[in-house]
Amino acid sequence: MSVQAPNAERQIWIYTQMLRVREFEQRVKRTFTDHPGVIRGHTHLADGAEASIVGSLAHFKPGDAALATYRCHGYPLVLGSDPKAAMAEIYGRADGLCKGLGGSMHLTDVKRGFLGTSGIVGAGIPHAAGAAWAAQIRKKGEVVFSFFGDGASKQGAFFETLNIASLWKLPAIFVMENNGYNVVTTTAQEDANAAAGEPLSTKAKAFAMPGVTVDGFDPLAVYATVGEAVERARAGKGPTLIESKVYRLSAHGNIIAPPGVPLHYPEHEAITVFGKREEYEAALRGDPVPRFRGILVSSGVLNAAKADEIAAKVGAEMQAAVDFALKSPFPRLESALDHVYA
């Protein structure tokens, strides 16, 4: 089983989606300085994971589903959610995807197959398996994408779920975005495989499940690897665990502080905690977004002019999202009591 590489048009789509996620999130980040107080609580950016997210979701078909974590801005944008509604949610406004009830950690867009996100580490993995069971019963070849971090693979929910998913041959693709860190803890500090120099995909052996490790900075590599897993799943052959090696290009999240303290994004923990500026800068040099643009230009799929045109269009789209969200009203107070029960 091997997946055909995406054609030129599809490659441009992949690049455009990567850029859309990046441009959206750069504006989320800038909101902390440009519009202090507009974003509250805790936001988590996907910068560095764009290639992994888009390379994976490039295989998403209508009827499929995706579930993720609190680090959830990228997925719905790639699946077609309106950036205006996404930004409005992060700003806590009435026009938000979740009417301001969910916020940055809980973006949801069911119409586009983005079923839900849990802020509890590992907790969303069984939800994805449940959706995969539903797909298995429907027998339409639908699959479910489950996105989570390396740290989540130390939570019981991960192990319990992968065993059942393998046993039941559920049509699920488990994409572990290994960014090397759980907040300020390195993977080697918390994972026995990592400490032994083994890939985290080794864990798949505990479930007699295929486990693969892929360069998450390379959207085409991710596309090929996830594509195979998706084919297996659609064919009823069961789930796959994919370790996608990425790197967070921002800190884990904005600083955690009570009201009164202005929130902002500190430098990456590699620098602030471990003093490894070089590690961070090396990752930055491999930034998948400009890197893929370079690849597409040098391979002739894209020329500089077209690339600038895309950048301009995407920038405008995301700026419009900010402008819209800033103008969107806050929800009625009483709406806090809506949707408690169905």
Binding site: C98, L101, V110, L115, I120, P126, I137, A157, E160, Y341
Partner: protein
């Protein structure tokens, strides 16, 4: 009408719903392990499955299947086993509808027995109802009769929200008249099990028959106790309780859990706020003594409220004044 044991009545409720609605799923540990299994034969392995000992995954999978359009019923056997998956029960299932701004619904039933006070000792005999009672988005059902066991299970399956269905293990073989055809018992409607004008007793699960027995004993002394079974504690039918207290002026709450872990204490708080004017005497709580449930038979009996202590509690309520 058929005379069925409690346990068969629950199954009847699940069958009733699985027959009419192909989206209802039923799964859990140590069930459906052979083709002879009642539910496997009727509905097949797509809808009826055995799981490993993985409550977190089991309940999480139910949540995901529910968000994807199905109505899972999870067999959990004992309420304590939900504790290893408590996040899924109280911080996942009831949250998604709200956090998504009403985009998803999470209709599922978590079926678990509780209060098996017959030598199961410290970790298997708890009465955990109150733990689930105050979670916005979650409903909690505690049947005490076979008929309600069927009807409340059916209603729980049709409900579009996550429901914790807690059946008392000591009632498992208690028989009762159960309606044959489609039977549904509404949530949020307490049942007055016995009418009486002197004192109001509120109890759930196994404490209902114990309270009714105590009421008969008291009747011999000319004391008429009204015994109320809330049947669902979330939603809680406080009105029926308040109406009774308005009549009797005296309230005794019976609960198998120890102090500060009871539904009794929570209802007492509501009545002290909303029914205060009716109260002629202190609200009495007849609850378990403050200990983990011991193994040894006489000690277990000593810890858990019995008829005698209920009778004493009622007399205390009758003596009491302002």
């Amino acid at each position: 009408m058929a005379n069925l044991p409690f346990i068969a009545a629950i199954d009847a409720g699940i069958h009733q719903e699985m027959r009419r609605d192909p989206s209802v799923l039923y799964f859990g540990q140590n069930m459906a392990t052979t083709e002879n299994h009642d539910f496997v034969k009727a509905y097949g392995h797509d809808r009826v499955r055995v799981t490993p000992i993985s409550e977190t995954a089991e309940i999480g999978i139910a949540i995901g299947a529910a968000m994807a359009g199905f109505r899972p019923v999870v067999e959990l056997y004992m309420a304590e086993f939900m504790l290893v998956a408590m996040d899924q029960v109280v911080n996942e299932a009831p949250r998604f509808r709200y956090m998504s701004g009403g985009q998803v619904k999470v209709p599922l039933v978590l079926k678990a027995g509780f209060g098996f006070a017959c030598g199961w000792a410290g970790q298997h005999t708890g009465s955990l109802t109150a733990l689930f009672m105050g979670v916005p988005g979650l409903k909690v059902v505690v049947p005490s009769t076979a008929a309600d066991a069927k009807g409340l299970m059916a209603t729980a399956i049709r409900d579009d929200n996550p429901v914790v269905f807690l059946h008392h293990y000591l009632l498992t073989l208690e028989h009762g008249e159960v309606p044959d055809g489609e039977h549904l018992v509404p949530f949020g409607k307490a049942e007055v099990r016995r009418k009486g004008g002197d004192v109001t007793i509120v109890a759930t699960g196994w404490m209902v028959p114990r309270s009714l027995a105590a009421a008969e004993t008291l009747a011999k002394e000319g004391i008429q106790a009204e015994v109320i079974d809330p049947r669902t504690v979330a939603p809680l039918d406080l009105d029926t309780i308040l109406k009774s207290v308005a009549k009797t002026g005296r309230l005794v709450l019976v609960d198998q859990a120890p102090r500060h872990a009871t539904v009794a204490g929570i209802i007492a708080g509501d009545v002290a706020e909303q029914g205060f004017a009716s109260l002629k005497a202190p609200i009495v709580q007849v609850i378990a003594r403050d200990a983990t449930v011991p193994y040894s038979e006489p000690l277990e009996a000593y810890v858990i409220p019995d008829e005698e202590r209920i009778v004493a509690g009622v007399k205390k309520a009758l003596k009491g004044g302002r």
